[in-house]
């Protein structure tokens, strides 16, 4: 898989919610090669503070040369990113890692929690464009309605069935998004479930899938320095606990749920 270092131009910075932004960049090489579930490493500052690049999933590619990121401001790097305006330059490396792999699944379910929703939009669009399976369901969760903002609408606009859950019940199901699996997925079908979100959410989803015998792919996070398998910083334990660690940036970020240790 090809990787690039690109000086991307900021085309648009949109504040979707108080802390959540959508950034559209011109990055032709990365856009042309990106697959859903892959990520980029973004240099958020020209100086040494912050020093390391920040990993962000590709939210979608637009046309042949644009990359869109969806991110939440949680610290220094993302705060700086949110100050970028159209016309400014941003250095990206990518596309990095292995994305979701959907051979010829007949029934696909995407489960996103919080910012884990970011890569699923790209995935949903690709699914609809390419395989267009008989069944495709999207389940989105967040702590509260305000955290989802326009995202559910974006998925619905694609024409895909979308169910929502919020921890506080302010929108959709009152409870965890993993609980929607049993409510909405026909247990007779052989589902392929693609999940991205907080660790406990993915653990619950992976557990459900195992019980049902469904295939499950999860997109993991880890603190990263290089993003390309060189530093070995992004280790996560594999299912076989005594085996070598997996590395999120190189072996993932998308893993088969059964490869991973759910501690």
């Amino acid at each position: 898989m090809n990787k690039y270092e690109e000086q991307a131009e900021v085309l648009r910075q949109e504040q979707l919610m108080p802390e959540i932004f959508r950034l559209t960049l011109r990055a032709p090489e990365i856009a042309a090669n990106a697959r859903p579930g892959q990520f980029v490493m973004v240099q958020t500052s020209p100086g040494y503070d912050p020093l390391l690049r920040r990993p962000l999933s590709i939210h979608q590619t637009i046309g042949h040369d644009q990359v869109q990121l969806l991110y939440k401001v949680v610290g220094k790097g993302t705060r700086l990113l949110a100050t970028m305006t159209a016309g400014q330059q941003l250095n990206l490396t990518g596309p990095l890692g292995h994305g979701f792999e959907l051979a010829a699944s007949k029934a696909i379910c995407l489960v996103g929690g919080g910012m884990g929703i970011a890569p699923l939009y790209f995935l949903a669009r690709e699914i609809l464009r390419n395989t267009c399976p008989p069944k495709c369901v999207v389940l989105l969760g967040a702590r509260t309605a305000a955290e989802l903002g326009p995202l559910p609408g974006n998925f619905m606009d694609l024409g895909v069935t979308t169910h929502l859950a919020t921890d506080d019940g302010s929108l959709g199901h009152h409870g965890f998004v993993a609980e929607l699996l049993l409510q909405h997925l026909d247990p007779e079908l052989k589902w392929t479930v693609c999940a991205c979100g907080p660790h406990p959410m993915m653990k619950a989803v992976a557990g459900q899938c195992r019980k049902q015998g469904w295939e499950c792919q999860v997109s993991l996070e880890a603190t990263m320095a290089c993003g390309i398998g060189a530093c070995l910083g992004c280790a996560v334990p594999q299912a076989e606990l005594s085996g070598p660690y997996l590395h999120v940036c190189k072996d993932g970020p998308v893993f088969k749920a059964e490869e991973v240790a759910w501690l």
Partner: protein, 306 residues
């Protein structure tokens, strides 16, 4: 105009230019092939190799600090056999020097690594990481005692036909003394610095940010300390010195060369700018041209004292 002469020699090891990549920050070379023309580099120092594969430390292994980072990878590596069978075939073809960083927890392990790697085609030198704990001596790091540094150097040199570079730990009172130990043990060169021991705490969870509690500090933050140590060591030993620590730009590299380093290694900067090493090679060439210098040797040790 003639192209500037960037060639240097580290003992019997000739380099087309003084820019190497630091162990553990450049994988096994291949990872950076999308960004860097590897054959432009003076050489590649690969991730530290031990006799048996190592799992390394549990995560989290990395945390960012002010202009730096802490790592507690725990020397995860594929082990000698897989390194030779899986990584060397690619490395043999990259068109530059391959330097293998080695680590062990006993003199015997270092010896075996030295002997076995000497038999492998395509390796130009060994870099001996002596920041590791000596299990037989109660876990004190080889690199904190001049006699132990000398012993481990001698062990590798006696069993290896390759040039031996000894990589020094900065967590000591007098690094020049350790360097002299390595020199006495037969090292062709010393490289420094390895990471400085550091720590970070998450005040919300009240837990260390690294599962290993402590880790190694690297990056621009440590450059002033590294530069001071390189300068001290360059005055203390006759063998060449390789400078490491926070080198990110051509100017940084020049500082180390002026302080007396014959070559430098680019570490953490590879993560920030994957093209850093190649850009420094190009920058050094430009510097020579701009300053009408015929070769990089006119820079090395060229610090003017007040």
């Amino acid at each position: 105009m003639t192209t500037p002469d960037l060639r240097v020699s580290i003992g019997s090891l000739f380099l087309k230019n003084p820019v190497l990549t630091a162990s553990g920050t450049f994988g096994y070379g291949k990872e950076f092939a999308p960004y860097v023309n590897l054959h432009y580099l003076g050489g590649v120092v690969v991730k530290g190799i031990s006799l048996a594969p190592r799992r390394g430390n549990p995560p989290p292994r990395i945390v960012e600090t002010a202009s730096g980072m802490l790592n507690a990878i725990g020397l995860e590596n594929v082990g000698l056999d897989r390194f030779i069978s899986e990584k060397m075939p690619y490395l043999r073809e990259i068109g530059t020097r391959v330097i293998v960083n080695i680590l062990g927890d006993s003199l015997e392990e270092y010896q075996t690594l030295g002997r076995r790697l000497s038999e492998v085609e395509g390796i130009s030198a060994l870099e001996v990481n002596i920041s590791c704990p000596n299990v037989k001596k109660g876990g004190v790091a080889f690199g904190t005692d001049p006699a132990m540094a000398e012993a481990v150097t001698r062990a590798v040199c006696a069993h290896s036909t390759l040039p031996v570079i000894v990589k020094l730990s900065p967590n000591v009172s007098d690094i020049a003394q350790i360097a002299r130990g390595a020199e006495a043990g037969g090292a062709q060169a010393v490289s420094l610095i390895n990471t400085l021991l550091g720590m970070a705490i998450d005040v919300r969870s009240r837990r260390p940010r690294l599962a290993n509690i402590v880790g190694g500090l690297s990056g621009p933050a440590i450059k002033p300390i590294a530069l001071r140590m390189v300068w001290q060591v360059a005055q203390a030993v006759k063998i060449p010195v390789i400078g490491i620590g926070g080198i990110t730009t051509t100017e940084d590299a020049l500082e180390f060369l002026l302080a007396g380093a014959t070559a430098i290694e680019v570490g953490t900067a590879n993560f920030v700018n994957p093209r850093a090493s190649q850009e420094i090679v190009e920058g050094l060439g430009r510097y020579l041209t701009d300053n009408r210098l015929s070769g990089i040797s006119e820079v090395i040790g060229g610090l003017i004292l007040p």
